[in-house]
Amino acid sequence: MSAPRDQERDDADMAAEYVLGVLDGATRRSVERRAAKDPAFAAEIDAWAERLGPLAAAVPPVEPLSGLWPRIAADLDRITRRPAERSGPKGRRVSAIWQWLGIGAMGLAAASLAALIFVAGQNLGAPVAADGTLTATLASDTGTPLVTVVIDMNTATATLIPVAGAAEPGRVPELWLLPAGGGAPQSLGLITMERPLRVVLKGGELDAPETALAVSMEPEGGSPTGLPTGPVVASGALHSI
């Protein structure tokens, strides 16, 4: 039983199959993990992209809606990198959205705690925006997808599917909701990057694509301040289906 299966695996050129696009999602993630660790394998993927590239180039162009660029420009404004960041030390990667969060958190420190609680209470009471399904791909600042999120608006539950690991010694991943209006990030709790899990959204306006989710690495037990304190390893905006 296992012999023909092994045989089949030996015959498979995973780099070619990845580029051709015939692999299922889980297998694609495992190919990407292997490529991240194995430069020779990554080079094979590049070679196949080069071989099959003319097929992609042959696809007839279609003009997107004129409204698309403004959407992209708005996203850029949210995530703009500061020039200083690029010339800084290239140690740990700090996500662009983290810069944005950092500013938000500093601004909030000036606000009174009472105001903060008031804002949070308001959000908790707000109804979830609409029926349907929202999705988000939370990616690192290099664009590597780390978590896929599907939110069922009817039950207000988010299903998180980790696609790549993120580990920081002594720290645990915490999920944050970044509200549409640019208010304080709201913690959705600690999560794991080991396996898929469900998170119940306690409230908060979900307004795709203005609302975003982010994952930061926090001390054991979660952020001590109620706001992200560690590096943001992944972030992404919500999209409606």
Binding site: V22, A49, L55, V62, P64, L68, P83, G143, I241
Partner: protein, 188 residues
């Protein structure tokens, strides 16, 4: 003449992507103006739905913004690099929503999405596509169709097998043999 303009186009994009890597938003706009129709065509063909394709295209340009500093013109042409990001994002989205999440029959994009010969036709005409076209031409028709619909549709082995009404193992071996032949032919 077309070769010259293609080279100029490539040099322009290489230079603009360098500016994007330095955080120049206007440069990204110029890259967008030059490439969005091409990349949108790729999204649309895989996803078969304008709305999904636009969401993915938005992600693609944000990815370009974030990753422009990792683009190496010595390794890939700018358009191949961007088309690869586009295909990967489109395929990942297709895996999330499933090929039947939207009714392709009500979308005008279906017509484009399911007809592969026109793209193969175009391949013959494009300078850099000739060798690939010739090698695809050496495959038997069934293998060529399977490879083309896999590439253009972004469908899994399982979905391809069901669509062609053949056993999964058959579809896998047809495509794997096709890929091996292509590799051999292209290395000549």
């Amino acid at each position: 003449m077309t070769t010259v303009s293609a080279d100029e186009g490539r040099a322009f994009l290489v230079e603009r992507l360098r500016a994007v890597a330095d955080g120049d938003k206007a440069a990204l706009r110029e890259v967008y103006d030059r490439t969005s129709a091409k990349l949108f065509g790729i999204c649309l063909r895989i996803l078969g739905n304008r709305e999904e394709a636009e969401d993915v295209l938005q992600d693609v340009y944000l990815t370009v913004w974030n990753r422009a500093d990792s683009f190496d013109p010595g390794r890939a042409s700018p358009i191949t690099w961007m088309a690869t990001i586009t295909r990967n994002r489109s395929i990942d989205r297709l895996r999330q929503i499933g090929p039947r999440a939207h009714d392709r029959s009500v979308d005008e994009a279906v017509d484009v999405a399911d007809k592969n010969p026109d793209a193969l036709e175009l391949l013959h005409r494009a300078e850099e596509g000739r060798q690939l076209a010739a090698c695809l031409g050496e495959l038997d028709e069934r293998t060529r169709d399977a490879v083309a619909s896999a590439f253009f549709g972004g469908l899994t082995y399982d979905e391809l097998a069901r669509k062609a009404e053949v056993p999964l193992g058959t579809m896998k071996s047809v495509i794997r043999r096709g890929l091996m032949k292509l590799k051999g032919c292209l290395s000549q």
